[in-house]
């Protein structure tokens, strides 16, 4: 069983979590062409490397972020979503 360290609940079995896929910047709805909407909706990060992605701890319904290696499946770190906001 693989462990994922939740920033709020600590290390838990990964089957307690749900993946919501790579973080993507939300386009400005008033200034975005159809093509860019299509990109936003349908093209997510899939390169062989490290992704930053949304996860949810299902029992506590807590959403957070994880940096994970898409090839080795190593979870490099997990952090609270406020960090993403502070960075922006």
């Amino acid at each position: 069983m693989k462990l994922l360290t939740c920033p709020m609940n600590g290390p838990r079995n990964i089957d307690e979590f749900q993946s919501f896929g790579p973080v993507r910047a939300r386009p400005d709805p008033n200034a975005t062409a159809d093509r860019d909407w299509s990109r936003h909706l349908f093209r997510a990060e899939n390169r062989k490397g490290i992704v930053v992605e949304w996860w949810r701890h299902v029992p506590s319904n807590y959403f957070f972020l994880a940096e994970r290696n898409l090839v080795s499946n190593e979870i490099i770190r997990t952090f609270d979503a406020s960090e993403l906001r502070d960075r922006a």
Binding site: Q18, F42, K48, V71
Partner: protein, 413 residues
Amino acid sequence: MPLRLLKYGLSRDYRVSGDIQATPELKPAYDVVIIGGGGHGLSCAHHLAKYHGIKSVAVLEKGYLAGGNTARNTTTIRSNYITPEGIAFYKEGVELFERLSQELDFNVMFSQRGQLTLAHTEATMRSFHMRAEMGKHMGTRTEVVDQKGVEELCPLLNMDYGGPLEILGGLWHADGGTARHDAVAWGYAAQASRRGVEIHQRTEVQGFEVTGDRVLAVRTNRGRVACGQVMIATGGMNYDVALMAGVELPIRCYPLQAMVTQPLKPWLDTLVSSVSLHTYLVQSSRGEVVIGGGSDPYQLYSTRSTLDMKEHLAEGAVHLFPFLQGVRLLRQWAGITDMTPDYSPIMGASPLANLWLDCGWGTWGFKATPVAGKRMAQTIAEGRVPDILKPFALERFDTFRLLNEMGATAASH
């Protein structure tokens, strides 16, 4: 040795030959370069050589022949999809399977035993009614059966009457079946090879030379190869390979796992799958029960099997057929699948004029090996996408004309 036997051995008609030539030297150029020596690439090569007279074809395979998802799939063949475009395409695919052993002069062990998909909820029953009506409209054999019908088709099933997973009915698809995956790939390879197609194993495409809107050549670990036309059919690596040519596909990679039990006497003569349990079973001609299910829960490029999935599939299988509880598992494995947002493939043109896509086959592409090869060969030979492939164009994502097959795909590929 009896003389009569020796007569045959010494006869001029008797040739000692393997089915597929050893990898030859790479030529500097080919009319058509096919990247990926899985079922799809080999099928396209066969159709180019046999039906379009194009002989200067090289299939470049980074590993060994058909060692990708073609080798790993659970061989469900069916056409009970939900969109008219999808059904029309997969129907042609099933029809080609019906004649495939003759076409390839090789027994692909196609067994059209029918597929039974189970519903444990009213919502699933409603979706089955829709699929059955679409299927009938499109001329396939797809119908809804009630509990009695399920029991007749598959008497050993645990119906779970009164329980939380009571089987309420099923979708019976008499056209469904299974075939031997290696035989399909090797049959195409042998036919293509016989007609002069070169199959280059251990030849990895590592980059593209692009000028303007054309691919001039591909770079491989064995040197540069100039090409008139290029097709990408690299299974789980489609996103990666297309990106090398500057084309970003709407694909995310997920592992898909399966496992088999020890061989048992024949007892399961249909394909069975359960939507709610995310489990499906088929008994191979050797007697092993092949058990598959849904994709892994998150994006990954690793083919390591997981205990989670083993437990999940075992739970589903034992629920449906409780007597399987004491049976041993022989193997478990995974393949990397190139999933599209709408669970339909991406076939046809790319932004580059001579680069063609046979991608996005995710968890459902084995059944399309003959038809995708046939139609992609036609596309490359004529330089024009035939009507049957048009709905699967890459542009559908920019025009928001998706072909949503998720509900008809996720439980049984």
